[in-house]
């Protein structure tokens, strides 16, 4: 792991690692939030060409969405007891050259 320093402006991504703690708002903060200003920007305000925001301007396009054929036929291993099941499992894995 690295710790880094950088010059501003800086963009940072935050992961869901458990060392990152969620900060919970206090009730007072939630009430004060109501009065806080929300700035709204249009494409024009940001100097963006509306044509660049059209679906036709997308660099990548989804041609097709499909559900793959998951022929999930699970082979169940039978046995009198755990020992036999384990033995058969190992045998099966050997057959499949996974062991």
């Amino acid at each position: 792991m690295d710790s880094r320093a950088g010059r501003l402006p800086l963009a940072d991504t935050v992961t869901n690692a458990d060392s990152n703690q969620i900060r919970f708002p206090k009730v007072r903060d939630m009430m004060l939030a109501r009065g806080k200003p929300i700035t709204r920007w249009s494409a024009q305000d940001l100097g963006l060409d509306p044509a660049d925001l059209e679906p036709t301007a997308r660099a990548a396009e989804i041609d097709e969405l499909f559900v793959p054929d998951r022929t999930s036929s699970c082979q169940f291993i039978d046995g009198e007891d755990g020992a036999e099941k384990a033995r058969k499992l190992v045998q099966k894995l050997r057959e499949l050259k996974l062991l």
């Binding site: 792991m1 690295d2 710790s3 880094r4 320093a5 950088g6 010059r7 800086l10 869901n16 690692a17 458990d18 997308r58 660099a59 990548a60 396009e61 989804i62 041609d63 097709e64 969405l65 499909f66 559900v67 793959p68 998951r70 999930s72 699970c74 082979q75 169940f76 291993i77 007891d81 755990g82 020992a83 099941k85 384990a86 033995r87 499992l89 190992v90 099966k92 894995l93 050997r94 499949l96 996974l98 062991l99």
Partner: protein, 322 residues
């Protein structure tokens, strides 16, 4: 052109996977396969790349590339891309590749597709396939820009069997890498305790879930993983319960893996977990509940309490290895 982001270490396994995928496309649709190797002390590492499918190898060798730094690798990647003239740039789906791809795409004005699992050569051009909706569906994607950047999920492409008769030309590429222009710098390097093989690289993963009931049974999983030459994984339930470190987590918010063999022990198979193993070639599930969703995706299933099966499984594998 495929990229090998090597730093100062050996070539990552992904290099051969990318070469295999690129070779398959080139053989089907025509075109050459280039490989850009970015790192420090690269010369000795490129020997078997021609055999694995490269037609041309572009080497960017610089001490500034000894450790991954986005600004350094961006400069190197751009130099290689320009020297190559390739219109499709393939990057590995490891943290370096995923970090570099958007930067490269932006600077080259190339459309990018991330987390791809397949490349399809068609008469209309190259198409990229990636899992969406947590792996429940797949999307087939066309990139409209002339230059395309694709990040390939690890272990989704197959390396070619090496052909020692193949030859490749080697080109040394100069890249202007100026550390004074870097916008970030590493202040501290904290070495993590990583014992054994990384989860994403492991050909075998032995994974435990809530059904294990506590941290103790994971010791058996560790032994089994070691005997099989693999790594230990876990479901979110086991990680949240504190039985294993978060680095073991397999799933939507954990690691997405594609081992040859995945053993799911005491894992019910919630969809978020399954999203992490769509790439697994063979899934074996041991669970005492025959209705557990894991059996819907497993190739081999054992309906049993793991406590009855695992000790014997360990014995059998120990004996087989002896």
């Amino acid at each position: 052109m495929a990229f090998a982001l090597t730093g100062s270490g050996p070539l990552p396994q992904s290099t051969y996977e990318l070469l295999g995928g690129a070779r398959a496309v080139a053989d089907a649709a025509g075109g050459q396969v280039h490989l850009a190797v970015l790192g420090a002390g690269v010369a000795g590492k490129i020997g078997d790349l021609a055999a694995h499918g490269a037609d041309r190898i572009l080497v960017v060798d610089s001490e500034h590339l000894a450790v991954y730094h986005p600004d350094a690798y961006l400069a190197a990647a751009r130099a290689a891309a320009e020297a190559s003239g390739a219109d499709v740039l393939l990057l590995p789906g490891d943290t370096r590749g995923r970090d570099l791809a958007p930067r490269l795409g932006y600077h080259l004005r190339a459309g990018i597709v991330t987390d791809c699992v397949a490349l399809e050569a068609s008469p209309d051009g190259l198409r990229f396939v990636k899992p969406v909706y947590g792996g429940k569906a797949m999307a087939r994607i066309t990139v409209r820009t002339d230059l395309k950047v694709a990040v390939m999920r690890q272990r989704s492409l197959d390396p070619r069997a090496p052909d020692p008769s193949r030859r490749a030309e080697v080109l040394n590429v100069e890249a202007a890498i100026d550390p004074s222009t870097f916008r970030t710098q590493v202040v501290d390097h904290i070495s993590e305790e990583t014992t054994g093989i990384r989860l994403e690289d492991a050909p075998v993963v032995v994974s435990g879930g809530r059904g294990l009931g506590g941290p103790e049974p994971f010791k058996q999983l560790e032994e089994l993983a070691r005997l099989l030459g693999g790594a230990v994984g876990a479901s979110r339930a086991a990680v949240d319960a504190g039985w294993v470190p978060p680095s073991c987590q397999v799933g939507q918010t954990g690691k997405v893996i594609g081992p040859d063999l995945y053993l799911a022990i005491g894992i019910s198979g919630a969809s978020q977990h399954l999203a992490g193993i769509t790439g697994a070639k063979t899934i074996v599930a041991i669970n005492k509940d025959e209705q557990a969703p894991i059996f819907g995706v497993a190739h081999i299933g054992v309906v049993a309490d793991y406590r009855e099966v695992l000790p014997h499984l360990l014995e059998e594998v120990r004996a087989a290895r002896a």
